[in-house]
Symmetry: C2
Subunit: 188 residues, 2 copies
């Protein structure tokens, strides 16, 4: 039995993922959550405050999912490649990255921060694994792990954009395969 607070946050998570911030109205949240206006504003002073809570929960869930993969078995480079290939619902896009399209999110520090923090966390973890891979001779020397971590993140985020534009998962899969081939080209 979920509380009205939980239902508000979960509904807002789903609506933000599908429609973004501008496209998510307080009325749609209330209707889908089955929660009245008074109850919503009892829990959250504004749509922005509720959206921030929903973003923070989505970010925590995404980080937990990625953490399990990056801390999993296999050598460091394989774990980076597994992250790159991590299958979610590709045509749905990234629950965090898609919010960067919203001007209101980008302009508001509290709404933007969960996005920045999530990508920074993943980037730091990827950098560490790529450093390990280099030390272990799986990744060629002379490449900067910090830059490659940004490339890995960008290929996933951009892959979602290309897939949605084509209404097909193919461009996403091609972009990931292309980067995988480059990262493993000199594997010893």
């Amino acid at each position: 039995m979920s509380t009205s607070l939980d239902r508000l946050i979960e509904t807002t998570q789903a609506l933000l993922w599908e429609r973004g911030y501008a496209g998510t109205s307080p009325r749609a949240i209330q209707e889908q959550a089955g929660v009245g206006q008074g109850s919503m504003y009892h829990h959250f002073r504004s749509k922005a405050a509720l959206a921030q809570a929903a973003e923070e929960r989505s970010a925590a869930e995404l980080i937990e999912e990625v953490r399990q993969l990056l801390d999993g078995p296999g050598d460091p480079l394989d774990r980076v490649l597994a992250y790159l290939r991590l299958e979610r619902d590709i045509l749905k896009g990234c629950r965090i990255g898609r919010l960067a399209a919203d001007p209101e999110v980008v302009a508001d520090h509290s709404l933007r921060k969960p996005l920045e923090d999530t990508f920074a966390w993943i980037s730091t973890r990827l950098t560490g694994l790529l450093q390990e891979a280099q030390a272990g001779g799986q990744l060629q020397q002379g490449l900067d792990p910090r830059l490659l971590a940004a490339t890995v993140l960008a290929v996933r985020q951009g892959g979602y954009v290309l897939a949605r534009a084509a209404s097909s998962t193919v461009p996403y899969e091609q972009a990931v395969e292309g980067l995988t081939a480059l990262l493993t080209a000199r594997r010893t």
Copy 2:
């Protein structure tokens, strides 16, 4: 002296880039274009029809910009790298790619088609240049130019997402530098 038709299209191009499809109201278009409701619906039967015209003009402008660069001087791989580094207003994102975040755009074939066609055009041209680069020995053998073309496109699109999330051009630049290092690692 621009016509009301031109002003409608140019205003819609700017609003779609900044706010996306859901965030662009007919009223905002009319106000910013200085064109009345009657005149707008004289030219276009719906917001979707006007948006499609604006998308098609944005796509044509983007393709012309990319064409000049990809047909420009320099060896084939350098032209691909120049495309990757092409500086626009990074924090503004891609005028075409940002629309893939909009569920209404992705769900409507006429609104989605300019996005798909633009990325397909760029991808085909990049694939050709990467094939030339391979034939000329600038790019290592064994890599699939079609996959790498998707990777190049994805790094740009994802770089915009990361930059907007961080409110900084740095993640974009890092992602591009990372891919550049990988593409040139075996340069002969």
